[in-house]
Symmetry: C2
Subunit: 635 residues, 2 copies
């Protein structure tokens, strides 16, 4: 297993803005954080013990690794390619996820599987650095003839996996493969003036990979190449009839709305944020902010999910947000987290962290079954009981994407800047790191989040530094914040970071009491199907109704009564341990024959009922039935 982990691991940083001149916040390494959180440890245990091994089995069973073996000649037989043409990325994302796990703990079985993957893909790389099993097996003479055929998408995921592996394990076999492919790309594509081939990536991923490769290796040409791919975009090089689909309809700085394939769109904005972090250019930042506003104020589901349309897996128009046909791909939500994390690094604004957290709890975790073996590609906000998690997909992008997010969760809890430590997410954990100022810090966080709002922070080693704690924007009112039992003198504002600058003593204790109040949310009136409807939330969680809890009536006829204050909490061990909600309301069944009729006074049969709501992220883990997030609050 010496091929997988060296004796000298690097700091296992997930997105390394630690030296980026235009980044305000810098990351902490995975191995500087010890996660002790019940909610997350349980998920990480599943990820490691069930999900990643079963994904490896699925990849083997569907021929994903055999594609590499046939390219290298390490497996005989017919030379045709198995599966979807960008299958290679399933392995790359899987390797990235496994690397994040190894950053904090050895695991011989995982290392054995990683070794198989790395050995096979290294053997399949061509002498010139090219690596794409679909083209090698199916279209040998057609390399880079169609920008939409994902060769650069595969490359980008290889780069991300290689960097993650290198940083987590110190071993350079995989990053050497990546370097050879990256060099090939840098030598091949560029402006005509530079004597290279003008080209852009179809599914946008390679830019993210190249910038991270630059950060890991110091090779500036990788950053230059990423910048080229950003700047070349918007002039039709992607050669699509519908260039909006892959954001090739106009140059980035001219974009005014989030359009096209949602995953591509947020991978693109993430890459531009990375580029800004390295090179600046206020136009990029302004465009990013404008696009973020368009997405969050016009084109996002209440879960944080994005991409309304099944056709082309795309963003819809403003306010086009149907619940039952919501596409809301798990990967798009993950891309949104990637983007928000980078915006947070640039600006240090709590609104990005709020959305990052909200998206993880409500639009990503929903994509993964409680038993760790099932996945949603789409995460609709209503369903008739037919949409169920699958164990694998022909296009299996989402499963390993969830795994790499879950495996890297600890990296999103804290950041550092100058002499400041930022506390973004609430999770039982310990941080042991050094600030850019040189100040060593050690602190721990205690919570039973997201079920309880009390958060404790214990300073474990003395020092003079600032602690910036996020006060979530979803708090109705500023929470009580105390240090050693005394209310702080600073003004506590929701939706911002509370800065506590002290000469801290070991044992100092900060306490936040976040008000996890239940809320009824309403939507903008132009989201037509949400007229007179509410969504129920508590803290960072969106709730939903499931038929299995409410069998005596059709959920579509339910009308909630009263206000959020009338809702009762119901802690429970079900569904992995969740706090359920009990709502009162009435069932109003409208007498209606056929589909259309002249307007008449409505006749209803009405009856009082109590309903049970569960967190949205755990839906579809019991028997199939109707589900809905939104419920009527007016007949």
């Amino acid at each position: 297993m010496s091929q997988v982990v060296s004796t000298k691991p690097k700091p296992a940083i997930v997105v390394d803005t630690s030296k980026s001149p235009y980044a305000l916040l810098h990351p902490v390494a995975l191995n500087d954080v010890r996660l002790k959180d019940e909610f997350w440890l349980k998920r990480q245990k599943f990820n490691r013990e069930v999900t990643l091994p079963s994904q490896f089995d699925s990849i083997e069973a569907t021929g994903g690794l055999d594609n590499f073996r046939r390219v290298s000649g390490r497996k005989e037989g017919e030379s045709s390619f198995y599966g979807f043409y960008f299958n290679d990325t399933d392995i790359y994302k899987w390797l990235e996820a496994a690397s994040y796990i190894l950053a904090t703990e050895r695991d011989p079985e995982l290392e054995r599987m990683m070794d198989i993957c790395i050995t096979e893909l290294a053997a399949a790389q061509r002498d010139d650095g090219y690596l794409d099993t679909f083209y090698e097996l199916e279209r040998h003479d057609e390399r880079f003839t169609n920008p939409d055929m994902h060769e650069l998408y595969c490359a980008g995921h290889l780069f991300q996996a290689a960097v993650a592996h290198y940083r987590a394990t110190g071993e350079d076999r995989l990053i050497n493969v990546a370097r050879r492919f990256a060099d090939f790309i840098c030598n091949t594509f560029g402006t005509r003036e530079s004597g290279k081939r003008p080209w852009v990536d179809g599914h946008e991923e390679v830019k993210l990979g190249l910038i991270e490769m630059y950060r890991a290796t110091g090779e500036q040409r990788y950053l230059d190449q990423a910048q080229y791919f950003v700047e070349a975009r918007g002039y039709g090089l992607a050669r699509r009839k519908d260039p909006e689909y892959c954001q090739d309809h106009k140059p980035f700085k001219e974009m005014d709305a989030m359009v096209g394939h949602a995953v591509r769109a947020v991978y693109y904005t993430s890459a531009v944020a990375d580029l800004y972090a390295e090179r600046g250019d206020e136009d990029y930042k302004e465009t990013l902010e404008h696009l973020w506003k368009n997405m969050t104020e016009k084109r996002m589901y209440v879960t944080g999910g994005i991409g309304a349309r099944y056709d082309f897996e795309a963003f819809g128009k403003d306010y086009e947000l149907t619940s039952e046909r919501a596409y809301t791909e798990t990967c798009a939500a993950i891309g949104s987290v990637m983007w928000n994390w980078r915006m947070l690094a640039l600006e240090g604004e709590a609104k990005y962290t709020d959305l990052l957290e909200w998206t993880i709890y409500n639009a990503i975790l929903s994509g993964w079954s409680l038993d760790g073996r099932g996945y949603f590609y789409q995460n609709p906000l209503a369903d008739d009981g037919t949409h169920r998690r699958q164990t694998w997909f022909y296009c299996a992008c989402c499963p390993p994407n969830i795994s790499r997010l879950v495996a890297s969760f600890a990296s999103y809890i804290y950041s550092v800047s100058d002499n400041t430590v930022w506390l973004h997410l609430f999770a039982d954990s310990q941080l042991d790191t050094t600030l850019p100022s040189g100040q060593k810090i050690k602190l721990s966080q205690q919570s039973n989040y997201p079920w309880e709002g009390k958060i404790g922070i214990t300073i474990e080693s003395a020092g003079e530094f600032s602690l910036k704690v996020r006060i979530p924007g979803w708090c109705d009112r500023a929470p009580d914040v105390t240090i050693n039992g005394q209310a702080v003198s600073e003004t506590v504002k929701t939706g911002s970071y509370l800065e506590l600058s002290r000469n801290w003593q070991a044992g100092d204790s900060v306490e936040l009491d976040l008000p996890l109040e239940i809320k009824f949310l309403e939507a903008h009136p132009y989201v037509l199907e949400l007229k007179d409807q509410i969504a129920v939330t508590r803290g960072p969680l969106v709730y939903c109704l499931e038929e299995v809890d409410n069998k005596s009536f059709d959920l579509r006829d339910f009308v909630v009564s009263g206000t959020a204050k009338d809702v009762r909490l119901e802690p429970s061990d079900d569904l992995g341990g969740v706090t359920k909600l009990k709502l009162e309301g009435e069932v109003h069944k409208k007498a209606f024959e056929g589909l259309y009729r002249p307007v008449e006074e409505a006749k209803y049969s009405a009856s009082k009922v109590s309903v049970t709501a569960i967190p949205y992220y755990v839906w579809a883990n019991r028997e199939p039935g109707r589900m809905q997030v939104w419920m009527k609050n007016k007949i």
Copy 2:
């Protein structure tokens, strides 16, 4: 031009159920009807003088005919195929449309173009009867290896064109081409037991063509072959991962909902209705009725449009009927007319005629611009001003489909059975035909439909026969019906055919006074986005609001006041001459920041406005702007 029209034309029947043992109604030939209607003559004139010539030009310009020329070697050059792989059908549908025109009137220019088409396609037919330019040019050795590649779809449209041409002109050059291809198909595909290849059509069309070929030629094997293709369906022969897409998920008799690609679905049900007309089998009829009920009560727009989804151009689930993203392909509406026409022939029920008429006025005419040169593929029920008619499409199925429907309009006005003449549609026209009983009849119809409800029917030659007149289901109340000024003694019921059996004298005059009242329709409460909304109709027309008429506010903020009785008529010469409607209401703009917020008491700014509504079928003929069919009637 002798190649196009012979001196002995056949009765130009569009769907010939005149000898079908299980059909109750029989058609009248196009050349038995003389259309004098202002509304329709104007459209037919455009169709003939502008639309068909410009379609011919588009077909030539996009290489559609050159594909045939390159197969036959009548044009040199590279052998690659132009355009979409089932382009051949554009020419076939165009020929079908042109044939219907020639059924009643010669037209040298049209005949010249038809001659070019027929000459080229006859020259391109292979010796074994096969004819498909995409396969000949691109995949010569792959004939019939993929059921979804439309070879049989092309064949079916060839057959329909050939039959139409033969019946309208008496000339047999085109039908001889069709016979050779039909023979090839009959010799090739069938059950394994018969020594043939099991196969089904991907895009369902060939069955319709084969049955009409049987009717035109008397060749029973064509009917047998159509029956084989119906019976072979539902067992996965179409080889799709998602067999519902092409209705191959279960045998027809087990289908319980309209699913999959909408055009395919209604072409399928149309073919099964044709099969029932020839061969009986009550299970087929029962399934057809059940599916019709599912479509009309759960899966149809208020315009009659069908196919809610952009993805796969498919029917949605029950009540999945979003307005702005309605796909409602023009071809699907045409397919619905085809199906309703066949159901009417089987059962003589007015509900089918009601829907046929409603669909023509509201879901098909909308697909064609008033200048005759622009087409909609999708016919949404709301729009932000960006959906505009195009002069042609890469997939140009809709334009010639509209043309063949418009060109054959006269064939849907009347039917006959035994000693009865059926009057289905209201249009100024003259009928001169012979009933199956042998009774000769001559009558004329006078109307200014759809703008006025007064319909006159003049018996022009004496005889003892029944006249069955449709009393539309959209009438609020039974209309006054008189004969020679005297109220009839028969009970007049809306949504049925009123049978008037008399010993008619020449000059007898029947008058109907259909109440063209304005109505506010509401939708089933499970169509979520239509909560508290109404659609305005008058007679057979659905109305809509367009921004160009109502610029002082956002249509989405409009709330109509009062009832349908408060709406005023406003006849106008605009838009080709339409009756507009004037509605009173208020603009309620809700103060709302962002996309979601905790429920609060709504604050509105309100102002009174009058709005102008126009018939939906003429929308998007002026400057671009927002349009919506549904409007709020409650804040």
